[in-house]
């Protein structure tokens, strides 16, 4: 659950001062336990507060039921198989939209970051769209694309595009000029320049955008599934709220969050594979 932090490989020489040889097995197990405790500590505190506050009447239990009640509702949904249906429907939308966004925004970002004419031409248009709320565009999407899957995937796609695009552009502009000189000196051009220098050099920054987009792809479901949805976690949240099934609503929210966290973990793992060459930076 380290996601946001993508805990870096600690190289030997980066170990904190004062140790000479490898720490003993006991010490290492103890370290691991401390770390594990740290990792769950904050979450545990959150859950305890969530459980206790409504029970003590600090917040209205009707609107913020104790965590255990939400868990019950979650189990019920899970046992009834509904959770699987909702999750499946949502994931299909999220992943399609997200995949499309990666496929479009990374190449586009590379082009815009690199070719000034492309930036001049497309920049203003993209800038306007980037600053147009997906939520406000919901009716337009529905109008133009219908209320079926197309418009829902399009919204996910739309929302995921911007963080990837912006980070990719920024990554390209941040490539070490020395490496560009090298690439130019061997007359790399066009596609191969991107493939062999700009893309690998950009990977870390692009991935930050991709991970932001990964979260967005799940988050935007709540909006995307407001209209014409038959299933989905966003739909579950909306409908539960509408029907005053508060514990279910929270069960839906929690599931969305959990999926978001897992998805992010996967992206972090992928990122690590691609950036294993990076020199570890540590305190």
């Amino acid at each position: 659950m380290t996601a946001l932090l993508e805990s870096r490989p600690v190289a030997d020489e980066e170990r904190p001062a004062g140790r000479v040889r490898r720490p003993s097995v006991a010490r290492r197990v103890a370290d691991a336990l401390v770390t594990a405790t740290g990792k769950v500590a904050a979450i545990a505190v959150l859950l305890v507060v969530w459980e206790v506050a409504p029970r003590l009447g600090l917040v209205d239990a009707t609107f913020l039921p104790p965590f255990s009640t939400v868990l019950d509702a979650w189990w019920e949904l899970a046992a009834g198989g509904q959770l699987v249906d909702h999750t499946g429907a949502s994931l299909a939308r999220s992943l399609s939209g997200f995949g499309l966004a990666v496929a479009v925004a990374v190449p586009l970002g590379l082009l815009i970051g690199w070719y000034q004419p492309v930036a001049t031409l497309l920049g203003p248009l993209l800038e306007v769209f980037r600053n147009t709320a997906a939520l406000a565009l919901l009716p337009v999407f529905v109008l133009l694309l219908g209320i079926g899957e197309t418009s829902k995937i399009a919204i996910v796609f739309y929302a995921c595009t911007w963080p990837i695009l912006l980070n990719t552009i920024s990554a390209v502009r941040g490539v070490d000029p020395t490496l560009l000189r090298l690439a130019r000196s061997v007359d790399l051009s066009g596609f191969r320049l991107f493939q062999k220098v700009i893309l690998p050099a950009s990977v870390p920054t692009v991935f930050t955008g991709i991970r932001l987009a990964g979260a967005v792809s799940i988050l935007v479901l709540v909006a995307a599934e407001m209209v014409g949805a038959k299933a989905g976690l966003g739909y579950l949240v909306n409908a539960s709220q509408f029907n005053f099934a508060i514990p279910r609503m929270y069960a839906g929210i929690v599931t969305i969050s959990a999926i978001g966290v897992v998805f992010n973990q996967l992206l972090v793992a992928l990122e690590r594979r691609f950036t294993s060459w990076r020199v570890p930076v540590g305190s």
């Binding site: 209205d60 009707t62 609107f63 009834g80 509904q82 249906d85 909702h86 009716p139 529905v142 109008l143 219908g146 209320i147 079926g148 407001m226 209209v227 014409g228 949805a229 038959k230 299933a231 739909y235 579950l236 909306n238 409908a239 539960s240 709220q241 509408f242 029907n243 005053f244 099934a245 508060i246 279910r248 609503m249």
Partner: protein
Amino acid sequence: GGAETRTLRYQGWAGDVTLPELAADLGYLGDVTLEWVGNTTSGPQDIQSAATGQVDFGGAFNGAVVKLKAAGARIRSVIGYYGSDEAAFSGFYVPEDSPITSARDLIGKKVGMNTLGAHHEAMLGIYLKRNGLSPDEIKKVEPIAVPPVNIEQSVRQGQIEVGVLGGILRDKALEKGGLRKLFSDFDLLGAFTAGTYVFTEDFLRDNPGTVRTFVSGVAQAIEWSRTTPREEVVARKVDILTKRGRNEDPAALRYWKSNGVAGKGGRIVDQELTLWVDWLAERGEIAKDQVTLSDLYTNEFNGVAA
């Protein structure tokens, strides 16, 4: 023209069994079948989908129908499907110990409701006007949008002085006690139909037979739920909901009391729409001559009411 379509695409409401769905289950729709394309959470969105051909019919409160018509959409109401009566109404609630007891007390106060510019705001306006407040005084009453699930709690916490509650929200809030009704739409206007189903003019022209079957079937369903014991209606609805397997929770259905439809078989009367035309014109949202009443609705497809 050619053969009429016998399949009607529509949007449902999660956790609810709508009248057309009930009619279909009761066998009132004959060879007309319903095709569920998904759920919606908003009446205006539903009739917009109907107007743009995403679905074949949609329902919303009549104010929205008037506004959509005024905006230029070629739609027409064919049958009423919900409204207010003594069982189904929207109440304006204050805490039990609130000093607010009359319309005049609302000056400078906040009234929370799920959406602005809709049914509830209109009811508030009519209430204030009927109780003798001047337009300037009315402006000092502050309607405010609050998500439905937050209304009760906002009233109790004093963030708003009045909250509008209906249906399950009202029942759940009243179960807990501590709230007092200031007035309701039923108190104000008596039983009346508040929302209607609409089709596009084109659809009505091309598929009159289908529409007739549909409207008459829904009308029959209205009458069936009016004359059948409440428990039986609820049981039937729960049964439908369970059978169709859309991953819904039947809990909310048990709070059903009445459709609130006033006219027999959902018959629409002038007054139900002129109310909104007048109100919207008064607010300057539409010009009075922007809609003609005869274009707004028709009962001609309603075999039960005609």
